[in-house]
């Protein structure tokens, strides 16, 4: 089973994202900020990371920059999931090595579609 790390400082958002990822067939871990996510990746590198931008302690973008320096840190596909919805943020995220970008609010359809785009999931015929 592929693994997904859900990184968000909101417990509610983590719960929603986790449920969607589980429905899509992933086993999930959660982290409430970039630092915790970093530690989680040190312990075990996930296949996918759903990543919020604004979080206390360490932001999503800082975490992403660190992650990509880690050993095996280019393995996870990183999908930003954030309320930052302007081109400047999107560009910055992609430059830092994000694979996809979701602008909140999201639903299952959007996550599924983005996972397919990032090559994490196979397209199912609707």
């Amino acid at each position: 089973m592929k693994s997904c790390l859900v990184v968000d400082d909101s417990r509610v958002v983590r719960k929603v994202a986790r449920r969607i990822a589980e429905e899509l067939g992933f086993s999930c871990e959660e982290a409430e900020d970039g630092q915790k996510a970093y530690e989680s990746c040190q312990a075990s590198m996930p296949d996918v990371i759903m990543l919020d931008w604004n979080m206390p302690v360490m932001s999503g973008i800082e975490f992403l920059e660190k992650l990509r320096q880690m050993e095996n840190g280019d393995h996870p596909k990183v999908v930003f999931c954030t309320t930052e919805n302007d081109m400047a943020h999107i560009q910055r995220a992609i430059m830092a090595g994000a694979n996809e970008y979701i602008m909140k609010p999201f639903d299952r359809d959007i996550v599924e579609s983005k996972f397919v785009q990032a090559g994490i999931l196979e397209q199912t015929v609707s």
């Binding site: 081109m87 992609i94 602008m103 959007i110």
Partner: protein, 287 residues
Amino acid sequence: MKLQDFDVYKDLLMKKSGLVITQDKSYLLDSRLTPVAKKWNFANLDAMSVALRGIPDQGLVRDIVEAMTTNETSFFRDQKPFDQFKQTILPHMLKARASVRKVRVWCAASSSGQEPYSLSMLVKENQALMPGWSVEFLATDLSEDILAQARGGLYSQFEVQRGLPINLLMKYFRQEGEKWRISEDIRKMVKYETFNLLDPMTRLGKFDVIFCRNVLIYFDEPTKRRVLEGMAALLPPDGFLFLGGAETVFGITERFKPMENTRGVYILSGGAHDRAPASAVAQPVGR
């Protein structure tokens, strides 16, 4: 809704758009036509039904037909057909049309434009392989309102996140307030026209590829047959037809057959690919 009234709408929709509406869907008439009745200043649906029994205003008829269409669509819907377009159809055309360097594609029920724009972006992304080529997209729909949206190329945040990879959003869209506008480069690749699939098609000219996805499902069998056979007449022997995931030619017409090793792609029976499959000769083009 009264049964006699239901029949008025059922007949009108069948005649004007081919839409089959069954009694169990009559609630849809209520929910979607009540706003139309209001717009045309009828006290209620009953009053509008009475008017329809006379000689109704054509504008009213149009509004009713448009209110009953389903415009659901998304960028790169189902993904696979677009992969096949890139991996099989484009390489075939690159060879077969090398002398004219021109390909014509028809999106026959284009709704708000996501389908033709997805194809245009795909062509644009592969432009290096086809210098000096012209790929023309004609996109048609019955609904003028939806075509106005398509022409504008302005999409909500929700719409640009369904099926559209982020790199294409960055490359081909520009933010306008809460919305996203597709670039002029892509927009000018597509020509939009109002067209009813029940009308004679020959005036549209010939096409190398036709996308007719997720519209035949609303029609009855004779209508499906008529549309498919009309399309067969517009394609050259090596042309391609794309249907939606829930649509098929089986039991409807023998003019087309499914292309081997694909889904939703159809070729002409007895045509060029029937004799020598395109999938075997075509080399995939890079992503």
